[in-house]
């Protein structure tokens, strides 16, 4: 009944309904409904042809056909709906699928051990891949919270030192540049915003003081960053003395109270009024750390030195952010402002720009995070390396898990050969068998997916902690589910394709006769897969060890001073002036403190660099900039710097404020035979300072880099001091001392916030990036090894089972347990040895190039390879032995009796 006779069509000459639509209808609609629906559609069609003409009627016909493509019309016979017209309702292809799933479930349930290995291995692999996927997504979507993401950029400039032809770049611009951009280049930009750098401030109201990160920037920032204003508007920063708080800051300061129009003080000197509150910017944004915004003009008004620089082209200290005017592209704007200095600045500045080859360019927001390292002044790489690295690791882990699946499926093929034979004998096509095995792997993948979701939910808090992220599974995001679906399908094919094609190719006659002997090469792909697995595992083991070793090496590097018990407190309150000596006396009185001194930079950073120095025998070609730190009299003693020559600053010599101490690197750099007693002349050519001492390098910047050449000047009156350094007596514990120290601060300078930092902890932070990598690497390595071992375990147990009879015969003939153990383990050990042979040169090559990044680096010694190789072999033996010993111990009577 499926094919309908179509007699005496009245319009064999007139217009007909579109054929393809009819075909579609006939294909889709259940046969017992088709006749009536199609009849009605046709009838209507001819009516409409007369009413509105053939074109429109056809269109309506197609439209109506599409409306019939609903489950209702497709359903196989529904009870009570019409009467079955055909005795053979359209066989639904779901029936066969149902059978496949049933068989798959039975197989899983029958071989619980294999199923467990399969599902747990795959689940773990998927969990890792998805975690990495989430991480990569987070990295890539950095800064995308802002609607104008594509148009926001920071202004940078390149300059080339004509002496050494070295190009470098900076994001610090001159104050008048903002105004010049606004007057000459405003057609490119929607916003041109002057900004100070994000830094810590003490925000206080009444007697409440909190440290908050803030940004002083032109008011357009609220609009540029498209912040979600909970209170106030984008005009909230237009008032000079205004401040806009993030929601969490507002809650921290005012609790549930309405913050609007409340008065605050920044650093106890700038008065502001709260004019707005914005929803917190998520952490994966450059401005995510900012907790309040205040107007740039207020910062200028509050800092005399900035005000004096309003028209000064000699001082580059300020940031400029821009947002492009929509149709303008980044390239156009870049080309437009490239020669800004040469064209739009006073002659003196333009000359300097020509001499140093100044070039202005925009550093777009989409590069801020992933391309944050600069080479020759241009953005070149950065975090993007890790995105690639972890992406590869994730793929590898998934691949390993899939390899397990493939191995176990093909290994078990002999067990299922009979089933395949029977299926083929009763007419199963190769295609159908492929479908069967794919649906089987689909089932396993779905199960693993569910398990992996659970694993992720468990592991996510830990992972967030290690990776310093705020990741979560976006369950409500439909995009996430689409990706998951794609992921499942891809994994199904990765894991199931090989077994599906392999198994479906069996010849039924041979299989059913029982003569199937998988040839000598049948196990070959399996062996290759094991080798791949172990190669990856060993590379990861070696990598982990080397990363650990490198961190250890840098941590053990002598730092040149004693950071034990040292704390620093920023001197950021005007009321400290004149009170510092009192503070020291009071602190010493507590008996907890060994000393208090001042410095212009904290011990774990160098904030000041100065150029233009000259000395006797200086090569005019070499750079003349040095790291400068101003310190008070007892600073050297406080931190225990190690004098190599000369003497420390001392109050006994009245002229010490015209002297200086240099570090070892500086002494070498200066190239003076006896640096102590020599004079260094400043850039103005008149002032000079005499060297009185040389100290061992103090590691203050990167522990992987050589310390910069540094000068230490005496700052007897604490004019440049920015940090208060306190040493707690070694005999006293920090928890005991801190409350006492705080009490002294409260008494002497009540307005200041007591925000202390331990120097050793600050120093440890310099390792956080490497430590993060090492933690993640060891995590992945462990997982990879585990997954590989799971696979090996399954494979070994299978081989042992297959050779039960052989083992029985051998035992009867007198083989010892040791013999049999060797026999069964030999194969796997040789596979792992091959893997070692591949992995060792590979990892050596990769790690050597990784280590080259660091100036202070550990060696890759032979024992690393030996240890990881031996470890891999040991793990293999342990895994395999469990099975082989079990097989070797079986009573031969049992294994031989079965026939």
């Amino acid at each position: 009944m499926k094919k309908q006779q179509k007699p005496d069509n009245p319009s064999s000459s007139g217009p007909t309904s579109p054929r393809w639509a009819d075909r579609l209808l006939e294909w889709f609609v259940a046969p017992h409904l088709l006749e009536y629906v199609q009849g009605d559609l046709q009838e209507l069609f001819y009516k409409r042809v007369e009413q509105v003409g053939p074109t429109r009627a056809r269109r309506e016909y197609v439209w109506a056909v599409f409306h019939c493509l609903t489950p209702f019309f497709h359903k196989p016979l529904r009870q009570g709906t019409g009467k079955p017209i055909s005795d053979y309702p359209q066989p639904a292809h779901t029936a066969m699928l149902r059978n496949y799933f049933k068989i798959a479930f039975r197989n899983l349930a029958k071989n619980k051990g294999y199923s467990f290995i399969n599902i747990s291995g795959l689940a773990m692999g998927m969990a890792v891949t998805m975690l990495i996927g989430l991480w990569i997504y987070d990295e890539i979507s950095f800064n995308q919270y802002h609607k104008n993401y594509d148009g926001i950029a920071q202004v940078r400039r390149l300059y080339t030192d004509p002496n050494i032809q070295k190009t470098d770049g900076t994001d610090a611009m001159q104050f008048p540049m903002g105004a010049a951009l606004k007057s000459h280049y405003h057609h490119y930009f929607k916003h041109i915003l002057m900004a100070w750098w994000v830094s810590d401030y003490t925000v206080s109201v009444a007697d409440k003081k909190i440290q908050k990160k803030g940004e002083f920037i032109d008011p357009g920032v609220l609009d540029m960053l498209s912040l979600k204003m909970l209170r106030g508007s984008y005009a909230s920063l237009n008032e000079l003395h205004s401040i806009v708080l993030s929601k969490s800051t507002s809650e921290a300061i005012f609790g549930d109270e309405d913050p609007i129009n409340k008065k605050l003080k920044i650093d106890n000197r700038i008065d502001v009024v709260v004019t707005g509150v914005y929803a917190d910017i998520p952490k994966n944004n450059r401005f995510g750390e900012v907790e309040f915004f205040s107007p740039w003009d207020l910062w200028v008004a509050s800092n005399d030195w900035i005000k004096q620089n309003e028209t000064e082209w000699g001082n580059s200290s300020f940031g400029i952010y821009v947002q492009l005017q929509p149709p303008i592209s980044l390239e156009t704007a870049n080309a437009g402002i490239n020669d800004f200095y040469q064209k739009s600045t006073p002659k003196e500045m333009a000359d300097r720009a020509a001499k140093y080859g100044y070039e202005v360019f925009l550093y777009p927001m989409n590069e801020w995070h992933l391309f944050s390292e600069f080479k020759n002044g241009r953005a070149a790489g950065g975090q993007i390396t890790f995105v690639w690295l972890f992406g590869c690791v994730g793929l590898f882990v998934l691949l390993l898990a899939c390899i397990n699946f493939m191995n176990l499926s093909t290994a078990r093929s002999e067990k299922r050969a009979k089933e395949i034979g029977v299926r083929k004998a009763i007419g199963s096509l190769k295609n159908q068998l492929i479908q069967q095995f794919l649906s089987e792997s689909f089932l396993v993948v779905i199960l693993s997916f569910v398990v992996s979701m659970l694993l992720i939910l468990i592991a996510l808090p830990w992972f967030n902690h290690v990776a310093d992220k705020e990741l979560s599974l976006p369950f409500s995001n439909s995009f996430f589910w689409i990706i998951s679906l794609v992921f499942i399908v891809v994994t199904t094919f990765l894991a199931g394709a090989y077994p599906a094609f392999y198994l479906s190719a069996f010849q039924p006659v041979k299989v059913l006769k029982g003569t199937i002997r998988l040839g000598r090469f049948a196990a070959m792909p399996r062996k290759v897969l094991v080798v791949v697995q172990f190669t990856v595992s060993v590379v990861l083991i070696i990598g982990t060890i080397v990363v650990f070793k490198q961190i250890q090496y840098a941590q053990d590097r002598p730092v040149g001073y004693n950071r034990e018990g040292l704390i620093t407190i920023p001197k950021n309150d005007p009321n400290y002036v004149g009170k510092l000596d009192v503070l020291r006396t009071e602190l010493l009185k507590t008996g907890m403190v060994a000393g208090m001194e001042l410095s212009s930079s904290p011990l774990t950073a160098v904030w000041n660099n100065m150029g233009g120095f000259s000395w006797s025998g200086k090569d005019p070609e070499v750079a003349d900039d040095f790291a400068i730190t101003d310190v008070s009299y007892g600073f050297g003693q406080l931190v225990h710097w190690q004098l190599m020559a000369g003497r420390d600053f001392s109050k006994a010599f009245a002229t010490d404020s015209t002297k200086m101490i240099i570090n070892e690197t500086a002494a070498k750099y200066l190239g003076l035979k006896k640096p102590v007693g020599e004079f260094i002349t400043f850039y103005d050519g008149k002032t000079s300072r005499q060297i009185i001492g040389v100290i061992k390098d103090m590691v203050r910047n990167s522990p992987y880099e050589p310390e910069k050449r540094a000068f230490f000047f005496l700052d007897a009156n604490y004019n440049s001091a920015s940090q208060i350094d306190i040493k707690i007596k070694p005999t006293v514990s920090a928890t005991e001392a801190l409350p006492k120290i705080e009490a002294v601060f409260r008494k002497v300078v009540p307005s200041a916030a007591f925000d202390y930092k331990f120097v050793d902890r600050e120093f440890a932070k310099k390792f956080s990036n490497e430590e993060r990598i090492s933690k993640l690497a060891s995590f992945f390595a462990t997982l990879v090894i585990f997954i590989s071992c799971l696979g090996l375990f399954g494979l070994a147990s299978f081989v042992a089972e297959q050779r039960t009879k052989e083992i029985g015969v051998r035992k009867v003939l007198g083989a010892s347990v040791l013999n049999l153990w060797g026999l069964l383990s030999k194969d796997f050990v040789s596979l792992v040895s091959i893997a070692l042979g591949i992995a060792i040169p590979m990892s050596w090559y990769a790690l050597t190039s990784w280590l080259e990044k660091y100036t202070y680096r550990t060696e890759i010694s032979w024992w690393i390879f030996a240890v990881s190789g031996a470890g891999a072999l040991l793990i293999t033996l342990l895994t395999v032995s469990f099975q082989s010993v079990k097989a070797a111990l079986i009573n031969p009577v049992k294994s031989l009796r079965s026939e």
Partner: protein, 112 residues
């Protein structure tokens, strides 16, 4: 009884079938609906509703004559069953009750 609750379209279709003197099939039902409501319906919607009503036992169907403009295809003709009549009466009764419980003059107050 839950089963007797009818959707708007179901009720309309049932009424159209009840109102016609002969047994009807999809196209006339659809045209009637269009003429009455001014809304357009697709063949698929009408068919779905008809079959659903049959499933619920409010309509019965038989196979009817083929015509040339249907390409020789037969029609499925629908007729109201006793159960269908009953459910229409029930609905009418319920509506009437509700109408009667509208306070006197309320609609006039709204200017209707």
């Amino acid at each position: 009884m839950k089963k007797t609750i009818l959707g708007e379209l179901e009720e309309l279709v049932l009424l159209v079938v009840a109102a016609s003197s002969d047994d009807v099939y999809g196209v006339p039902v659809m045209e009637q609906l269009q003429a009455l409501t001014g809304r357009s319906f697709t063949v698929s919607a009408v068919h779905t509703t008809l079959y659903r009503l049959e499933e619920k036992g409010f309509l019965s169907s038989s196979v009817g004559g083929a015509t040339a403009e249907r390409g020789g295809r037969r029609k499925r003709l629908f007729a109201l069953t006793a159960a269908g009549g009953r459910v229409l009466l029930e609905i009418q009764q319920m509506r009437q009750q509700l109408w009667q419980s509208i306070p006197v003059g309320k609609l006039e107050l709204l200017g209707l």
